[in-house]
């Protein structure tokens, strides 16, 4: 079959036409004029590519972009990466980690150390907490990622250490279910020992809408 397009003369467009073999499986969407004649929109499914589109029919204002080599970006997808502008010293138990510098905040959903989900979905959340002066007298220490739906804990037991370590980092990552307007933020928590731990600069908190 040489011609793989449905043509207006083939009477395949609109309601009430008889089904014709070997054309229906090769078409996705067809744009129609008011008088019933169809316009070229998408056609030609083959084994080697999903579909061929008439470029003039692709919305020019879409936030999604595809490069010639197939990479796809979406400038509207919620995504953020923040860091701390200065050291957060002698953190109290349950102190909220402070991230005052936005490296990027696509969608503007991060404010006051808290990410707010703009839509319901699964969000990949990650952090690196760069800690100084952990007290080996603390029996338990953890960073807690608190989302509206649940909390995630990242523990260490400093009491097993022979002395106070100068540097330590706790990193964590989770694919979290969040509803629209839900929040996510981080806290520092400890039991026992002195209030002496600092959050050093070069700590980060990031996230994006995965699906």
């Amino acid at each position: 079959m040489a011609n793989q397009r449905i043509l207006a003369t083939e009477e395949m467009v609109g309601y009430g036409h008889a089904t014709k073999a070997d054309t229906l499986n090769r078409h996705g969407f067809i744009e129609h004029l008011e008088d019933g004649t169809h316009q070229k929109a998408m056609s030609h499914l083959t084994a080697s590519r999903l579909m061929k589109c008439d470029a003039s029919k692709i919305p020019a204002s879409s936030a999604m972009a595809e490069t010639a080599t197939g990479e796809v970006t979406n400038a509207s997808q919620p995504a953020f990466l923040v860091t701390n502008a200065s050291k957060q010293e002698n953190m109290a138990d349950a102190a909220t980690l402070v991230f005052g510098t936005e490296i990027f905040d696509q969608g503007g959903d991060f404010a006051a150390n808290t990410f707010t989900a703009p839509v319901t979905g699964r969000y990949q959340l990650s952090f690196i907490a760069y800690l100084l002066a952990i007290d080996s007298g603390s029996s338990v220490l953890h960073i807690r990622l608190i989302t509206s739906n649940r909390s995630y804990y990242y523990f260490i037991s400093p009491a097993v250490l022979a002395s106070d370590p100068g540097y330590w980092h706790i990193a964590g990552s989770i694919l979290a279910d969040m509803d629209a307007a839900d929040t996510a933020y981080l806290t520092f928590n400890y039991t026992g020992g002195a209030q002496q731990v600092d959050l050093e600069v070069l700590s980060f908190f990031s996230g994006f809408l995965a699906c």
Binding site: P118, S139, S148, R150, V160, A180
Partner: protein, 110 residues
């Protein structure tokens, strides 16, 4: 936006502070976000609340926090172990200084 007791309890099943969450949600997503969340979690809450040991999010988190706390025995053991480690460290430093492998202030000799 006024919540019924049932709506507040549904939210309390999943969030720590329903009123705070609603106030935040009204700023960021409007009443639609509040309604959507309540509708999403209502079936879960309905199936859970009849259980004899039912706890809402705040109670669950408090229970988790309590479990994380070390027992007095664990604290005492950890303190004893730390004393031992400190003593061993002091003894090791003293011996290394005596052997000339460390200076008097505990550094590697130049």
């Amino acid at each position: 936006m006024e919540l019924t007791n049932e709506e507040r309890e549904t939210l309390a099943h999943v969030v720590l502070d329903p009123d705070a969450w609603v106030a935040h949600a009204l700023e960021h997503g409007g009443e639609a976000a509040v309604t959507a969340k309540i509708e999403r979690w209502r079936p879960v809450y309905e199936s859970e609340k009849a259980k004899p040991d039912y706890k809402n999010r705040s109670q669950r988190d408090a229970e988790e926090a309590e479990k994380m706390k070390p027992t007095p025995e664990q604290i005492a053991t950890a303190a004893a172990e730390k004393l031992i480690r400190v003593k061993m460290r002091e003894q090791a430093i003293a011996e290394l200084i005596k052997e000339g492998k460390l200076t008097a202030d505990g550094k590697i000799p130049k």
